[in-house]
Symmetry: C2
Subunit: 117 residues, 2 copies
């Protein structure tokens, strides 16, 4: 009995499965990648990141731009900080937020291209 027959019987292409399995990344890598994309998978956060790519802004500026409450924006900023996408500096009562690097901008740009196809 050939290997390929076995595959058919079990409804699995063993060679293909084995090959692809060996090429898969580590579980934690997939985890991290998907966590980052999950952060980008929300309209509010994408808008915040896009706004910050244009200019450093404080929370109430962002709230005004987004048309949302300070609280809602602040909650999202917390997530963005946690995932290392934005940083901030305090000046008196105000907190000025900006992007950590332009990696996110590149990702959004690519996403935009795909969305517009």
């Amino acid at each position: 009995m050939k290997n390929s027959d076995l595959c058919e019987i079990k409804c699995i292409h063993e060679d293909a499965v084995k090959q692809v399995k060996s090429e898969m990344l580590h579980e934690t890598t997939f985890q991290k990648i998907s966590e980052d994309f999950k952060i980008l998978g929300d309209k509010t956060r994408i808008k915040i990141l896009y706004a910050l790519s244009k200019k450093e802004l404080c929370v109430c500026d962002l709230s005004s731009i987004m048309g949302m409450t300070d609280s809602a924006v602040s909650h999202q900023l917390r997530l963005l900080r946690k995932s290392n996408m934005v940083k901030f500096r305090k000046e008196g009562k105000m907190a000025y937020y900006s992007l950590v690097d332009d990696h996110v901008v590149q990702l959004i740009k690519m996403g935009q291209e795909h969305a517009q196809e």
Copy 2:
């Protein structure tokens, strides 16, 4: 009274807000972008896409690679089809899935780079 004073009083940097507002994309654009990223924001779907980037595979192959039920995989494939990331061809009882283009692969690669920082 200066404009900048007004800004401070209202806790809004009017000029910055006005400028950034004018540079924002359309609501539907942000919507589309975030929807695409939301699809990538799940470990199961990232793994499926990564596997398909290596080889065309049928549902049961994917199930075996993922260590999940056919049903769970099929549900996710439906979402991936809906968001135009994967396509499939039928051959008898089997359905062979593959990526629509390598756009997704590029995104995952970029996400991977960011995740590894």
